[in-house]
């Protein structure tokens, strides 16, 4: 039983990381109807950006440590958001009128560029990097179940992120426009919604959430590597699709399911750990077999 609870906790952590990445995929798909394949790379780029910002800020002597950490996170998130909008400008906007697959291709290429770019331009970027930020190592144990400060913090931060996101989407004027655009692009345009602006904001938003995911990932696992976006992208995308593309709550559920499946496979299937991704993907395939448009996905409206 203790083992099960411990596994649930680790699975939950993994799941939250996946969910944060998946939410970005879902948000972008919902509004733009494109899959931004480099999204997970943007997430981990966020972690690298925060490392760079931190090295820069810690050179300023009169800054106390907590201020450095605070500004690091703020700047890193904003810079990553801006990088997201640049990607939109260069690699998505010009192809909006081309077949949807072209955007898929161009974002795949962006993924190449980000990964290799980090490797070449970040100082010794090819080797795995120790992530300088981390949570305090406090923990308390209850009958073998260990709950760490980092676990609680991650849940709280993810909660805050989702709360702010839903506030933004549901209560602000821009949020209203984003929702409207995701439901009917044509009508949105006719009503005078500036699509360029909405797309840019959406990319900014998704990339900032991605950056938070990347930074949390770094803080929890203490490591970032330039090619983490590859697997992260596949799993994040899977979570988003399993939950129903375009639905952020679906993405959360999908992410959590995948995280828990992985952690349980590693622990309870004899010799199962090399197969943990297989189990995760079998779950994905099964879900899609019985619910072809995802858990919370709307049934594709069949117009004849």
């Amino acid at each position: 039983m203790v083992l099960v609870i411990n596994q649930v906790i680790t699975g939950l952590m993994l799941g939250i990381m996946y969910a944060l990445i998946a939410s970005g995929f879902s948000l972008l798909f919902g509004v733009l109807n494109v899959v931004q394949f480099a999204h997970a790379d943007v997430c981990f780029l966020g972690a690298f950006v925060s490392m760079a910002v931190m090295t820069f800020l810690s050179k300023i002597e009169f800054f106390p440590t907590w201020l450095v950490i605070f500004f690091t996170i703020i700047f890193a998130v904003i810079i990553t958001g801006i990088i997201g909008t640049i990607i939109e400008k260069i690699c998505v906007k010009p192809f909006r009128k081309s077949p949807g697959l072209i955007i898929l291709l161009s974002t795949v290429a962006v993924g190449f560029i980000i990964r290799e770019g980090i490797k070449i331009f970040y100082p010794s970027g090819a080797s795995p990097k120790f992530f300088p930020l981390s949570f305090p190592q406090w923990a308390f144990s209850m009958g073998g179940v260990t709950i760490r400060f980092s676990n609680i913090m991650i849940i709280i931060i993810a909660g805050i992120i989702y709360f702010l996101l839903s506030l933004f989407i549901n209560k602000t004027k821009i949020g209203l426009q984003i929702r409207a655009t995701s439901q009917n692009v044509e009508a949105a345009q006719v009503l005078g919604i500036d699509l360029d602006k909405i797309f840019m904001i959406t990319f900014f938003l998704a990339s900032t959430i991605g950056a938070v995911a990347g930074i949390l990932n770094g803080m929890y696992y203490n490591i970032v590597k330039f090619d983490m976006g590859l697997m992260g992208g596949i799993i994040g995308f899977s979570a988003a699709v399993m939950g129903g593309l375009g639905n952020i709550y679906g993405a959360i559920i999908g992410g959590l399911i995948l995280g828990i499946v992985e952690s349980f496979t590693m622990a309870f299937v004899p010799g199962g750990s090399p197969y943990k991704e297989i189990f995760a993907f079998i779950v994905v395939v099964l879900f899609l077999l019985f619910k072809p448009s995802g858990i919370l996905g709307k049934k594709v409206i069949e117009k004849v």
């Binding site: 004027k173 209203l176 426009q177 929702r179 409207a180 439901q183 009917n184 044509e186 009508a187 949105a188 345009q189 006719v190 009503l191 005078g192 919604i193 500036d194 699509l195 602006k197």
Partner: protein
């Protein structure tokens, strides 16, 4: 008020509109008639900038608008009610309406317009918090007309507001259009239902294969043999 001078648009290599000129004066209801595929919707899309003309120009009052972005044109005071309603199914009615007043900053004036719309279509008031996707076709039509009023446009473009409605509802819709016009909004009405359209319009144009073939006051149009044959026989 709205002046369209000799616009030509192209889709690929096919010309959709050829040298179309319209002139709409303040306070008028102008009907734009024509068969399916004559280019009526394209005309409206060109006015609000979704389609860019390759020749000609469009003026709203003294502002040249044919090179502007759609969002700027809407902001300048045009609103359009789309042919397929274009409602947002997962937003509730209030949100659907509010999104019409995108560029209105003044909360009071928004509420005032809302009240006017609810007066016009009381059913919308009743269902304020219902998701728009659950409305019936007629209600959706009202919603989309109401949404078009939200920005308090100088001119409103209506694309086939009677399409797909039960005959009983059609009269209500035209009644509402008339009332909107009476309150000072200029209206360009695109219709296939020529009988009804000519009843409330003051002037009319007939589009055929992308060209204006007949234009004039409603009285003249009603007497025109071609129109009688093609559009008025029911």
């Amino acid at each position: 008020m709205l002046k369209i001078n000799g616009i030509t648009t192209r889709y690929g290599t096919v010309e959709i509109l050829r040298d179309v000129s319209l002139n709409i004066n303040e306070g008028e209801i102008v009907a734009l008639l024509g068969a399916n595929g004559a280019g009526k919707t394209t005309t409206l899309n060109t006015i609000i900038g979704l389609v860019k003309p390759i020749h000609g120009n469009i003026y709203l009052e003294d502002m040249r608008i044919d090179k502007m972005k759609t969002s700027k044109i809407i902001k300048a005071g045009i609103s359009m009610v789309m042919e397929n309603r274009g409602i947002f199914p997962d937003l509730n009615i209030l949100e659907n309406l509010r999104i019409g007043a995108l560029y209105e900053k003044d909360e009071k004036s928004i509420n005032k317009t809302l009240k006017e719309i609810y007066d016009l279509f009381p059913i919308l008031k009743e269902r304020e918090n219902q998701l728009a996707g659950t409305l019936s076709g007629g209600e959706q039509g009202m919603l989309s007309i109401g949404r078009g009023m939200m920005s308090k446009p100088k001119i409103m473009l209506l694309d086939e507001p009677s399409l797909g409605l039960a005959p009983m509802l059609v009269d209500g819709v035209f009644e509402a259009i008339k009332r909107i016009n009476n309150e000072g909004t200029t209206i360009l009405l695109v219709e296939q239902n020529a009988v009804k359209a000519l009843k409330i319009a003051s002037r009319g144009y007939v589009l055929q294969k992308g060209q204006i073939v007949i234009e004039g006051p409603v009285k003249e149009l009603k007497e025109n043999e071609v129109i009688k044959k093609a559009y008025l026989t029911i």
